[in-house]
Structures are given as structure tokens and as C-alpha cells.
Amino acid sequence: MISALRLDVPTSSATEFVDITARLQDAISTAGLRDGQLHLQSLHTTLGLTVNENEPLLLGDLQAMLERVAPRAHAYEHDDLTRRTGVGPGEPRNGHAHCRHLFLLPACTLLVEAGRLVLGQWQSVFAVELDGPRKRQLALQMDGDFDANAGGVAHDRPDRELVELELARQLLVDPEPVREPMQRLVEAGGKRLRPLLTMLSSRLGTQDDPLRAAALAAAIELLHHATLVHDDYVDQAATRRGRPTVAAHEGAARAVAVGDYYFAKATRIIAQLGNPDVSSTIADAVETICLSQMDDVRLRGMYPGDYAAYLRVVRGKTAALFAAACKAGAQLGAASTGVVERLQRFGDLLGIAFQMTDDLLDYSVSSGKPLGQDIRQRTVSLPLIYATEDVRYGARVRELLAGPLEDRDIQEVQELVGATGALERVGEEARGVVAAALRELEEIALDGVGPQLADLANSTVDRVR
């Protein structure tokens, strides 16, 4: 069996290393490829591929090397448009980019085992833009053994497509200075867990209306992205999903405005649905998120904190929107009070499991996140809390966390956390929370959406980003 698809890779700079590892892993998971090969091929002569380490300073070195090999300012025959034939309007002068492409791959094959890309600890897969910014595409083909029930993800395809269409439709009408950075963020991927939860929850009542549900789902996703734009500024994060953050790329002042714009837009879309319960649910959730974000920043002074503080922040910062996505979807579909309450608890637990798994990604090289970012930013994180409790290594971890956290300290903390078994403990706990979430659904007539809800629930802990 062969599965083929195209991967959109919008780029934002003249030369850019776009880490696509997590997106490739998503494609593999979605297709259900267990063991086989992933073939990928650039569809452009100035977009190459490579496998290397995602370390910001190294990426700077690689860019500098490409500039030395084929300097942009050098004169290239290819750029002499007076001598070329078949030149159309807007033909770019990009001889340097074609020359640089000689040093990269036009296509490559990666191995897949047990549903996972086979990559070494420091390996990430990059699409390398040489003449951006542009909208790029990669061709993907997978062959090998696929899960028999790979359709488990595929059967949410109509919902997923509806959400993507609605997101695209909403972004289309926005002023370019806010639309462009948000579009880049939205197109960088993501599992769309919150909007899919909304879509499915909306079917559990008596008023199933997919278009209204998609409007709500897209608004919740925009709201989520608006909070990410502000979070990235607060956390001084340079990248998200392997791409520059809005604050890093467009500047902090614009990031603030972009976040505010999409916060307001999302609340407007939700208000226009004309369902007061839905509006109140989302408004309450947003308020909770804001209060928890402030709580989180305060807690960084008491780093790494304790379990109770962790749970309080996670419930507010992450789980509140998961819970609201489920609850509001059910309210929109006019589900009974009992169903609404159970779905809210289901979403709350999923949000907690999601965040626990997200904490683990700080230790995963294939996550697309810079390694050790949570440690560097002193973000409250469960593996660290557990590691500080360890009899053998806890004291040393606490000592390191109390210090300046230079690169070598962060690496040592990561190694010690691994040695304590904290990562396995958090992974196990996250799976337990998902099991508890699924138990919330046992008393509900799921009207055919049970398998999809279970798939989404399990995907919160079975992910690489």
C-alpha cells in the first residue's frame, strides 16, 4: 500500500531552516504507517532538504556557510535576464539560491519503525528555504505496513477539513498585518485537538449543525493561537513548531496587537452564534487562562514548585480551553446538562494529560521544540517536580535549578531527570489521566462519535509535539 500527500511549507525568510520533523511524524501517524519508508521530495529548485541538528547557533553557522559558498551579492549568469530566454514577469534573481541548492538534497527517504521516524537523538529533518519567503510544497509518499484501523484518524477527516476551511475563510478577510503572522502560525500545523473536540461534542445534542460548530471550533482555535502569540512574547521564545514566533519575526509590539486582534475576533465570532451559554463558557475560560498565566509567571520565582501548584496552573492555562471546547460544543448542540458536565470534565482531564505530555517533549529531540526550553524559561513542569523528589539525584537537581542555568546546567538537569525515571512516571500518569477522561464518557450515549473521541483522547499522550 502506498499513501501519497502534499505538505505545505510556507516560509518567512530569504534563507530559513524549517524543522518539519514533527509534521512528518504527524503525517505518519495520520496515515497509520507502522513499518516502512517515508519518501519526501522538494517540488522546487530553490528549496532543499537536509537532516541535521536543530540548534539555533548551528543553524546560523549553516546559513553563514551557504552565504560563503554562494554569496547573494555575487554576479550570476542566471540573473542576467537580458540573456535568458523564456523569462516571465517577476522572474527572481536567485542564482545564488540555485547554486546553494547543490549542497542540499532534492529528495530523501526516512525509515519508519513502530509508527515512529527512525532518527538519532540529535537528528531533525529540515526543509531549507533558499529564496524565500514563499509558499512551498513537499511531496510525500509512504510505503510499508499500515495499521488496519488507520481509518480511526481518517474518519474525523470531514470535521478536520471543515475546520481548516473555516479557519482559512476567517483569515482571508483580515487585514494583512495581522493575517500574515497568524496564517503562518496556523499553517505551521497542530493537531487541531480543541476544534475537533468542539465538532464532536456538538453532535451529542439535539441540534447538530456542522457549519455553526465549525465556526465555533475555528474561533476556539484562533483564541488558542492568540494566547500562544502573547505567551511566546512573555516566554521570549524564538520559535514555535520550528518556525519563528510572531514576536521574534514581526517584533513584540506587533505580536501584542496580533494577539489582541484575534482574541477580539474570536469572541465576536462566538457572540455572533447567538448562544449566551456558549459565550459565557468561552469568556469564563479565557478569564481563567489569563489569571493562570499570571499565576504561572509568579510561580517561576518559586521554581520548580510542587504538584498542587502545577495542577492549578495546568488546569487554568491549558485544561480550561480543552474543557471549554468540549462544553461549548455540547452547549451549541443543545446537549443535556448531564452530557455538558461530563464533556467538560472529559476536556479538563484531556487538557491535563496534554500538558503532562507536553512537559515530556522538552526532553524529546524530535518535538520541534528547542531542547530544555521549559528548564531555561523556568516553566513549571511535572518531570522536574518529580526529579527534585528523587532520593538519589533530587538534591543536585534542586541545586542546579537554584543556579543561573547555563547551557551545561540545563544539559545536566535533563540527564538527571532522565536518570530519576521521572519521564516514565509522568508518561504513565498522563495515560492514567486519559483513562479517567474516557471513563467520563461511559455514561453518555455517544451517538457514533465514541471512537473519534477516544482517538483524540489517546492522541493527547501519543504525540511527538
Binding site: D174, P175, E176, P177, V178, H230, Y233, V234, A247, G251, A252, A253, R254, A255, V256, A257, V258, G259, D260, Y261, F263, A264, K265, T267, R268, A271, Q272, G274, P276, S279, S280, I282, A283, D284, V286, E287, I289, C290, L291, Q293, M294, V297
Partner: protein, 124 residues
């Protein structure tokens, strides 16, 4: 109405935002209170405060001010949701959209207070 009476009127809805309630907020609240009921007047005041705290369209605020501004917007949104007045919620959201788009380098917008008054009076 005195400042203390104004604070009493909005008290419970200012939880977590006490630190941002200053003289200019009192003045703003008194202004909007002439035209709207307490919850709506407070929502309008909080939107103005958010824009001021975040220095929207100028320099980026420090993170604590950004977060306080976010909380102001969120509280305003919740107050408006509690009114169950869809038109009002939409008008307020559009006012923020216009101001934020302008701040990002988009189309010019009217003065924020003008937009908020128009939203309150249903004259978008």
C-alpha cells in the same frame, strides 16, 4: 458619584485587577457610566485600560503589563457575555479588532473611546 462609590459599584468585578484601578480609570468609568449600566461601563473602562497597559501600537509592554491587559480584555469580555446582548458583544469586539489592526500597521481606526461609545449606543 464619588470615586469610592464608583469603586464600590464595580468592586467584585475588579478581582485581580485592583492594581490597575487608578485615577484615569475612575474618570473613564465615570464617563461611560453616564451612558451605560455598571457592567457595560466597566467593560468599556477595562478595554481602554487594556489598550493603555499594553501601549498598543507603540512599544511592547513588559510581560506583567501585557498579562494585566489581557486580563482586562478577558474580564470585559465576560462582563459583556453576562449581559446576553449579542449586538453589544459584537460591537465591542469589532472596536478592539479595529484598534488592534491599526496598531499592527493596518487600516486607520477611529479613536477607541469614540468606537466604544458608538458600540454602547448601538451606532456602529
Amino acid at each position: 458619584m464619588s470615586v469610592s462609590e464608583l469603586v464600590d459599584e464595580v468592586g467584585a468585578n475588579l478581582a485581580g485587577l485592583e492594581s490597575v484601578w487608578d485615577g484615569s480609570m475612575s474618570d473613564a468609568y465615570a464617563f461611560f457610566r453616564h451612558q451605560a449600566r455598571p457592567e457595560v461601563a466597566l467593560a468599556a473602562t477595562l478595554v481602554e485600560s487594556a489598550v493603555a497597559l499594553q501601549d498598543l501600537g507603540r512599544t511592547a509592554p513588559d510581560p506583567p503589563r501585557l498579562l494585566l491587559g489581557d486580563l482586562c480584555l478577558a474580564r470585559a469580555s465576560r462582563l459583556l457575555a453576562d449581559t446576553h446582548d449579542t449586538e453589544l458583544q459584537v460591537a465591542f469586539a469589532e472596536a478592539v479588532e479595529r484598534i488592534a489592526a491599526q496598531a499592527a500597521g493596518g487600516p486607520a481606526a477611529r479613536d477607541l473611546r469614540e468606537l466604544l461609545v458608538a458600540a454602547i449606543l448601538g451606532r456602529r
